[in-house]
């Protein structure tokens, strides 16, 4: 292939880098902002096997297995997914690799789509795993290759850390051909691959040694570089903040780190000795700063920078140059928080739960949006799978009657991720309580990824589809009921019946995500003359519906998806289906 320059999303560049680096196996669970890596990898299915695993722990273990067998492998996830994967991560750190192995972890400073702000570099330090961090799409692609080389050279798995701003930014990259990496032979070596205490003890000594070697090598590694300019201001930085530094301080000297764990001590000392004032610019936690200070080097960091949210060039100008920026105040405008889409089947379920006055222990997915007005049904959101287990905790704390005012709500993908374990726990520990599996036949929030119950793999092949009702029955749940989410009368009756029982019930509302179907959808129209302005149809909070100045209802025909929920709530026949020819 002749070299070709194209614009690529950070995540696309990582996928391309993996392809060029000769990766053979990749496993992931979708999580913003990491999801697109796997979706872009699919185009290389001739050369790279890529899968959605049910969760990040499984994905990491798949990658470990592939590495043990001698091929280059990777697992991809977001920061909170790394918590799920931390069990195998801490141990593969001891095992090291055969084929190179990389865990791509995307952090989310600024909390665009996450339940916490968490710095993966902290986890990596605790697990003693090297971390490589690129600053734009071009580096994202090129550093992937270096990550595998370092992994193999130093016998370490490598965390490839990105952030939302990098993952979802696009920049120019130069495409290269795939390198054919020969599989390493598998040689049985249980001292390295069976982490029972006796072996692990020896490996711990070994990884300390390897980490020291890598730290030493980091002083001359091409991933780290000094850009010497004016010596008044020196900045140590990495990742996306490097770009903000370049923008804000074009004349400053910069030590740009590509390997952020372990840190190159000699290089940092050399750089620090050459500049008058040393700043450390890193988003989230003071990971570099604390180490640099521990070596007796004077540096300014979090005393002028925040540990929350994203940085920017303006912010750096203000903090370091003390520039007073002439920026207009933002206008006062009502907020526009994310909402359930028009036609979303979750809206219908929440309408019923609200009508019945129930609280919901919630989970991670689109349905988390049931927490906000006007639905306001979801009371808790913790992490994947926690809806079911936290409901169980409530029941054990307050008893069977208390839990009749509550349900757990979880999506199909999340149920298979970790919810299933929690349901097993309910049965094993003699719980009562009702679990609603809002089965929209996809992983909705991250953009419609397949999972073990959809009947399709990441690479697009048809496959066995887990039967969720049968799975629940196999766990031991006697009461497993399936209802169409938009059949609100039947749904209401079913929920009433099931929450009244002193047993575990699972109600599955199986209605596909409205965005899944590409078919032309019907749409509804309000008839102002028949409208009694009662506001019933507005209760579920459909964004396609607005009140006109006279109080009657209007339906936005560019937004309506024809779910019919408003029609089923209107007692006056003031909402009608638009005939095909009248659109």
């Amino acid at each position: 292939m002749s070299e070709r320059r194209v614009i690529m999303l950070g995540n696309e560049a990582i996928a391309r880098g993996a392809y060029e680096a000769g990766v053979k196996v990749s496993a992931a669970y979708p999580g913003t902002p990491s999801t697109e890596i796997s979706e872009y990898l699919v185009q290389y299915k001739e050369d790279v096997y890529a899968e959605w695993s049910p969760n990040e722990k499984v994905a990491t273990e798949v990658a470990i297995g592939a590495s043990v067998s001698g091929v280059r492998s990777m697992a991809c996830m977001k920061h909170v997914g790394l918590n799920v994967a931390s069990d195998p991560l801490y141990t593969v750190s001891y095992m090291g690799v055969n084929g190179g192995m990389m865990v791509v972890v995307a952090d989310d400073p600024g909390l665009y789509s996450s339940q916490n702000e968490q710095d993966t570099r902290m986890v990596a330090r605790a697990a003693q795993v090297p971390v490589i961090e690129p600053s734009d799409s071009a580096e994202a692609k090129d550093f992937v290759k270096r990550a595998f080389e370092i992994s193999e050279q130093f016998d370490r798995p490598v965390i490839f850390r990105t952030t939302t701003r990098l993952a979802h930014s696009q920049g120019l990259v130069t495409l290269k051909d795939r390198e054919e990496i020969e599989d390493k032979p598998y040689v049985k070596n249980i001292q390295k691959t069976v982490m029972m205490p006796g072996n692990a003890k020896i490996r711990h000594v070994e990884i300390e040694k390897r980490n020291k070697e890598l730290a030493e090598a980091a002083n001359t590694l091409d991933l780290n570089r000094i850009e010497m300019k004016d010596t008044k201001i020196g900045v140590i930085t990495s990742g996306i903040p490097y770009q903000y530094v370049k923008e804000a301080l074009p004349n400053a000297s910069v030590l740009k780190l590509g390997l952020v764990n372990p840190l190159p001590r000699k290089l940092i000392e050399e750089f620090a000795s050459k500049v008058e004032t040393l700043y450390i610019v890193e988003e989230l936690d003071p990971v570099i700063e604390e180490q640099v200070r521990s070596w007796g080097i004077k540096a300014i960091g979090k005393e002028i920078f925040t540990v929350q949210g994203e940085y920017s060039a303006n912010m750096i100008r203000k903090a370091i140059l003390k520039e007073e920026l002439q920026i207009k105040e933002p206008a006062k405008a009502p907020g526009r928080p994310p909402i359930l889409c028009p036609g979303c089947p979750h809206r219908s379920v929440y309408y019923v739960l609200k009508k019945l006055g129930l609280h919901a222990a919630g989970d991670i997915g689109c349905y988390t949006l049931g927490a906000v007005a006007p639905l306001s049904v979801v009371d808790t959101t913790i992490c994947m799978g926690a809806s079911i287990s936290s409901l169980h905790g409530m029941e054990k704390a307050k008893g069977k009657e208390y839990i009749k005012n509550w349900v757990a709500v979880i999506g199909d993908s999340t149920f298979l991720h970790t919810g299933v374990n929690s349901l097993m726990n309910m049965m094993y520990n003699k719980a009562t309580g009702t679990v609603l599996i809002l089965d929209n036949s996809t992983t909705g929030m991250t953009g419609h990824q397949d999972h073990a119950a959809t009947g399709k793999t990441l690479q697009g092949d048809p496959t066995w589809a887990i039967d969720i009702p049968a799975l629940c029955r196999a766990i031991g749940v006697k009461n497993v009921v399936e209802v169409n989410a938009f059949d609100i009368e039947l749904l209401e009756k079913t929920v009433k019946e099931e929450v009244a029982k002193d047993e575990v019930s699972v109600i599955i509302t199986k209605t596909p995500c409205v965005l899944l179907s590409k078919a032309k959808k019907p749409l509804y129209r309000a008839i102002p003359d028949k409208c009694k302005k009662c506001g019933m149809c507005m209760k579920p909070g459909c964004p396609a519906m607005t009140k006109a100045a006279d109080g009657t209802i209007r339906i936005d025909d560019t937004m309506c998806t024809g779910c019919g929920l408003c029609d089923s709530l209107c007692k006056f026949g003031a909402i009608e289906l638009v005939k095909e020819g009248d659109r």
């Binding site: 320059r5 194209v6 614009i7 913003t32 902002p33 999801t35 697109e36 665009y112 789509s113 734009d136 701003r165 979802h168 930014s169 696009q170 920049g171 120019l172 996306i240 770009q243 903000y244 370049k246 923008e247 920017s312 060039a313 303006n314 920026l325 002439q326 920026i327 207009k328 105040e329 933002p330 206008a331 006062k332 405008a333 009502p334 907020g335 526009r336 928080p337 994310p338 909402i339 359930l340 889409c341 689109c366 988390t368 949006l369 906000v372 007005a373 006007p374 929030m445 991250t446 953009g447 507005m538 909070g541 964004p543 519906m545 607005t546 936005d556 025909d557 560019t558 937004m559």
Partner: protein, 189 residues
Amino acid sequence: MAAKNIMIVGVGGQGTLLTSRILGGIALQGGYDVKLSEVHGMAQRGGSVVTFVRYGEDVAEPIVEEGQADVLIAFERLEALRYAHFLKPDGALVVNDWRIDPMPVVIGAAEYPEGILEGLEKEYKVYAVNATEEAKKLGNSRTFNLIVLGVAAQHMDFTKEQWYEVIERTVPPKTVEINKKAFDVGYTL
């Protein structure tokens, strides 16, 4: 040249991502360094969406900061108001004169501001167009974003043929003709 800073704002689902891809494509075609940044995931479910496009000889950060946008393309009035302070004092605001109520307005917890465009016109160069209505006339209301882009294109240094080429490469093959037509409507408005 100093980097040219363009922002596209709208409501999740209106097509800001596709529009930013077209802008990225045209910058690449012009031989510039280019960086784009966009919002995915939970934030885009009917929420306020922002994408940034920067092109020039050498572009470092992928975001446009307050007070630095040369062109702000807004697919909805309230979103124009929300992000107008990102504009340079002499920047151009291209806005689809269209209203989508956010949930706090729908449920009566907030009011949709009146007179948004009149207010913005006092401070910025405003190019308002009712692109949604224009697109309906074309027979596909979803192509309104290309109409808005067509208006914005008048403030950028690329030829119509370059735009056509990029549109052909970027939008789904079935919609190339209608999208080109929509762009044309905006370009001549």
